[in-house]
């Protein structure tokens, strides 16, 4: 499960340029979200959620992706910060 989410979520980092206006990508994230929301297996899982640092870092990426999608940014140069 974790593997599936991660493979999807890290997609932008595997490219040089990414299209954040892509509804398919965000649709997949949303589908995966509702899939796990409904999954009773997950609900009853007494698993742990990892390091406490996940809370704010995941929240940051989540918010960032949503803003990038709302802005409909295309051809975003992922590693541009290195050249600044």
């Amino acid at each position: 499960m974790f593997h599936e989410m991660l493979s999807l979520f890290t997609q932008p980092f595997h490219e040089e340029e990414f299209d954040f206006s892509d509804d398919i990508f965000f649709g997949q994230i949303s589908d995966l979200g509702s899939k796990y929301m409904k999954s009773s297996e997950l609900k009853n899982m007494n698993g742990n959620r990892g390091s406490k640092h996940f809370i704010y870092i995941n929240r940051t990426f989540f918010g960032l992706y949503n803003l990038m999608h709302d802005l409909k940014g295309k051809e975003i140069r992922i590693n541009n910060y290195k050249n600044l």
Binding site: H3, L6, H53, Y81
Partner: protein, 339 residues
């Protein structure tokens, strides 16, 4: 506009507010079961979510402070939450009823020891924006237009008790169990306490602005430490539209803004290892020149190296596709633990 003259500050007052919310949710469930007989299950469920979201929001709105902050955090998990919750909670990101002008002046005096008119040439006692833990007023000094953020009274002291009330709801919503919930709530609590410290916020803002001002198409207000205190922040007034109100058909403008936002985050995460951890639309403006403005640095998260390294190595394809390496990283990130 409707204003409120007092915030429920005692724990009992605040607790009774949450009980009212809880009771209403109960009623909504009764309605749901009633509706279930007459309507399709899907329809009834959607209605239940709408009713619940509204009642939770109305309850939280009068609490302000940390409970509202939790609503904000919930609304960011857009795809995880039912649609009705998201719509209602998104409102919480920047419109709640403001304090009355009389209470504003009183609060300002208590925090600063002076009347706002003694400090600024002009001060508008009617606020322009209300945020989760404070509200914003327009002011002027020496011909400069300023924004003055005033923290709601009693917020800092109420965080711990607010969180202990919200905790059971959140634990249920996210299925967090046992030991984990304590660790997580401690982390959230310490961040919220940090956010009420406006002296720290001014320091962080000034530092981040200095480190990031070279990023193209990205702007920040100046912060005035001498006109700020632990509960008041004075900064430049920035003209612009909130990101959620902004829309354009010009793809070039979209790309420019999105690239600025992306660069800002990647630079913070990878170079500064300290990141603005509150990326909701209320914290960003688009200037008349179509540049991005960042206006709130209350919530900054420092990323420790022992987290940073495995987190980003995990994201690499060669790691995702290598079961052994993948498992090793999960241990480093405490998702898997030795028994």
């Amino acid at each position: 506009m409707k204003t409120i003259d007092s915030i429920p500050t005692s724990k009992i007052q605040r607790a009774s507010k949450l009980v009212t919310t809880g009771a209403k949710i109960g009623v909504n469930y009764l309605k749901y079961y009633g509706d279930k007989f007459t309507k399709s299950e899907e329809e009834a469920k959607e209605k239940l979510n709408t009713n619940n979201a509204e009642d939770i929001y109305n309850g939280l709105q009068q609490l302000k402070g940390s409970a509202l902050k939790v609503a904000q955090m919930l609304s960011m998990e857009k795809s995880v939450l039912p649609r009705a919750y998201v719509e209602k909670f998104s409102l919480s990101q920047f419109s709640v009823p403001p304090l009355s002008p009389a209470l504003v002046v009183k609060t300002f005096k208590r925090y600063f020891g002076k009347d706002p008119n003694e400090i600024y040439d002009k001060f508008d006692t009617v606020s322009t924006n209300a945020a989760s833990i404070g509200q914003v007023h327009r002011a002027e000094k020496n011909g400069k237009k300023l924004a003055v953020k005033i923290q709601y009274p009693g917020i800092a002291d109420s965080i711990t008790s607010d969180l202990s009330m919200v905790k059971p709801i959140a634990v249920k919503m996210f299925n967090i169990r046992g030991k984990d919930s304590d660790r997580y709530f401690k982390e959230v609590e310490s961040k919220l306490v940090e956010e009420t410290n406006y002296v720290l916020e001014v320091e962080q803002s000034i530092a981040i602005v200095a480190a990031c001002k070279h990023i193209p198409h990205l702007n920040f207000p100046n912060y005035y430490a001498d006109l700020s205190s632990d509960r008041i922040i004075t900064m430049d007034w920035m003209n612009g539209l909130h990101l959620s109100e902004f829309s354009t058909n010009n793809q070039e403008v979209s790309n420019k803004l999105a690239q600025a936002l992306w660069d800002f985050y990647m630079f913070q995460i990878h170079t500064l290892k300290k990141v603005h951890a509150d990326p909701h639309p209320g914290n960003f403006l688009v200037s008349p020149e179509n540049e991005l403005i960042v206006i709130d640095f209350g919530c900054m998260k420092t990323i420790p190296m022992d987290f940073y390294t495995p987190y980003f190595e995990l994201a690499k394809p060669e790691c995702i596709n290598d079961p052994v390496l993948f498992e090793q990283k999960l241990y480093e990130l405490e998702i898997l633990r030795e028994r």
